[in-house]
């Protein structure tokens, strides 16, 4: 697919997404809100898997921690401020990513996969086993956060359409931010780290710091997705931190095509639509989903985008 065709396709898709709430009914608007939140989440993981070559199996930790942060700072029957809670949520997620990153980035390859999963699971147990935040039942957010600029409220997150547009705006913002970043010198360096870290280090780049920045940023963006998700569902429970979520989001990245940013968004949509489709067929839909994942792993290493552009650009994650 040529570059220009790609831009046109992207603009058409964006136009369709903007038009959606005016045409479709509530169910679809809410479904696409979910899809866009997952798209943000998947893009943040793509920064690690596709661009930096870090296969994190614990990405749900940052998503979940941000969601829990919102739930904990929201007063019982009042609204939290959107800016404060969002900054806090993303800040906590980034801080956790920074701390975990300091430890896990000392390892690579298969260790990295196992260690990220183990630390994410530790976070899961903290929320699941202690009474810190409602234990295994989770906590409800009765009133959604409010954005107020000198008494003016541009949108109301209680309204599903307003929420949809906020989420869409966030998705577009994250996409543009990551694109800009990856197109800069920074993006070149982390691509170098992915392909040959030793060489980058001998060229004088502090590769550990670059990886740590990526890990922290990916955690913060995952935190944005978690915050939005908590706003949408109005309840946060340990499922937000579960390793099944980390597994699903890896699947989204690969299904769409890693190292492309657009791919993970397509993957998020495809995965969630597939889930709904499988649920229509049978109550044992996990069986079909599992089989689907196995087939994608075997047959579609470049993802759906890879079908469009058969010529590989060498964007696979580095081995080991």
């Amino acid at each position: 697919m040529s570059r220009r065709l790609g831009w046109i396709a992207g603009l058409v898709a964006l136009a369709a997404l903007v038009a959606l709430p005016f045409l479709a009914d509530k169910f679809y608007v809410q479904l696409f809100t979910k899809i866009l939140i997952m798209a943000i989440f998947a893009m943040s993981l793509d920064l690690l898997i596709g661009y930096t070559g870090l296969v994190s199996f614990g990405h749900a930790a940052f998503y979940g921690v941000a969601a829990y942060t919102l739930a904990l700072v929201t007063p019982q029957y009042e609204a939290a401020s959107m800016w404060t809670s969002l900054l806090l949520s993303m800040g906590v997620a980034a801080l956790l990513a920074f701390l975990i990153g300091l430890l896990v980035l000392r390892t690579s390859g298969i260790y990295f996969i196992m260690v990220t999963l183990a630390f994410a699971q530790m976070v899961y147990f903290v929320f699941h086993d202690t009474k810190l935040a409602g234990g295994s039942d989770g906590i409800f957010i009765y009133v959604r956060p409010v954005l107020e600029v000198f008494g003016w409220k541009p949108f109301d997150l209680e309204q599903f359409r307003d929420l949809y547009f906020v989420v869409l705006g966030c998705a577009v913002g994250v996409f543009l931010l990551l694109r800009m970043m990856l197109g800069s010198l920074f993006g070149r360096v982390i691509a170098g780290v992915r392909v040959n870290e030793h060489r980058m280090r001998s060229l004088g780049y502090p590769t550990f710091r670059y990886k740590l920045v990526c890990f922290t940023l990916a955690g913060a963006i995952a935190g944005l997705a978690g915050w939005l998700s908590a706003v949408q569902f109005g309840v946060v429970n340990p499922d937000f931190l579960a390793w099944h979520l980390s597994g699903s989001v890896i699947m989204m990245v690969i299904l769409g095509g890693m190292g492309t940013l657009v791919g993970p968004m397509i993957g998020a949509a495809a995965m969630m639509l597939a889930e709904i489709g499988f649920q229509e067929v049978t109550e044992h839909w996990q069986l079909l989903m599992g089989g689907f994942i196995v087939l994608v792993a075997l047959l579609l290493p470049k993802g759906l985008l890879g079908l469009l552009a058969p010529k590989p650009e060498g964007k696979g994650a580095a081995r080991g």
């Binding site: 898997i49 296969v55 199996f57 430890l103 896990v104 000392r106 390892t107 690579s108 390859g109 298969i110 260790y111 996969i113 196992m114 260690v115 999963l117 183990a118 630390f119 699971q121 530790m122 147990f125 903290v126 086993d129 202690t130 009474k131 390793w243 597994g247 890896i250 699947m251 690969i254 044992h284 996990q286 069986l287 989903m289 599992g290 089989g291 689907f292 994942i293 196995v294 994608v296 792993a297 075997l298 290493p301 696979g316 994650a317 081995r319 080991g320």
Partner: protein, 298 residues
């Protein structure tokens, strides 16, 4: 803590550690020799436990269920390697994670269809129901000693096969240079298939003998998988010796972490957080030796 309680907890921690070792050794064997990360390893443990429950119920004997369950899990392992895993040897770990993650979903759902979502118990076999008295009012169940003994026997057997036999020699050679072994006229594809099946059988066997002491429940695979990862990371990927040391260490820390913190019950947050202790140990090892205690420097 009295001496009696201490002794009971010590035996418990050794038993738990050895059981962990049994599961983790399969994981580390598959990675060390084949270079495959197998996320579905916990699912095989779960399958083993459910096989023990279902077969023992139908055959009326735990001792008949055991060999039959092992045979079934070996067949499962051979079939999986033949159908799926052998396609992944040259691929990035990412795809191995993804494929085996898909397998977890498949196995969990098959388990729900075949055996339901209930929690089950497996009775301790009649011959091992006794307890050995330690003090006047404390005694230790024979079955737990049996688990420890079996795990030690399996560990010894594995050591002997890998270090002292011709098959072990081929396996070790295959781990360091697959193509060379192949060109010496050895069917390394078949050797890998057997190694994978043995790994699956080790996990399933651990699930089977653990079933009478821990109940049989849907989430058991995930739990054991994560702890096994911690074991492998602490011990060093691919090192069976490391897995043994790390598993025993985790057994001690986990068991005594719970007991000691119950003693100072004034701080009632601590027992809840005792589950964290093993992760803190992992963090410490990562700071000290990122490649694990017995891991080779990468």
């Amino acid at each position: 803590m009295s001496l009696g309680t201490f002794l009971v907890q010590l035996l418990n921690s050794v038993q738990y550690g050895l059981l962990l070792f049994l599961v983790a050794s399969g994981l580390t064997l598959i990675f060390g020799i084949m270079g495959v990360i197998n996320i579905a390893h916990g699912a095989f443990y779960m399958i083993g436990a459910y096989l023990a429950w279902s077969l023992a119920g139908q055959l009326g004997s735990f001792w008949l269920a055991l060999p039959l369950g092992i045979a079934l899990s070996v067949i499962l392992g051979l079939a999986l390697e033949w159908l799926l895993i052998n396609k992944l040897y040259d691929r990035d770990h990412l795809y191995q994670v993804l494929l085996t993650y898909g397998l977890i979903l498949v196995f969990e759902e098959l388990r729900a269809i075949l055996w339901g979502n209930d929690v089950h118990g497996v009775p301790i076999p009649e011959q091992l129901k006794a307890s050995i008295p330690l003090t006047e009012n404390l005694s230790y169940p024979v079955y737990r000693l049996f688990i420890s003994g079996v795990c030690l026997a399996v560990a010894g057997l594995m050591y002997w096969v890998i270090q002292k036999t011709r098959l072990g020699m081929i396996v070790r050679a295959g781990a360091s240079n697959r193509d060379m072994v192949q060109s010496l006229g050895i069917d390394i594809g078949f050797v890998y298939r057997v190694v994978f099946a043995v790994g699956v059988a080790l996990a399933a066997f651990a699930g089977m003998i653990a079933a009478p002491v821990s109940s049989v429940f849907p989430g058991m695979g995930g739990q054991v998988l994560i702890i096994c990862f911690v074991v492998v990371v602490i011990g060093g990927v691919g090192s069976v010796k490391g897995a043994l040391v790390a598993a025993l260490l985790i057994g001690l820390i986990d068991t005594f972490g719970k007991v000691i913190e119950l003693d100072i019950a004034g701080f009632n947050v601590l027992p809840e957080l005792s589950g964290m202790s093993v992760y803190l140990l992992m963090a410490a090892v990562l700071l000290w030796r990122p490649q694990g205690i017995f891991g080779a420097r990468p």
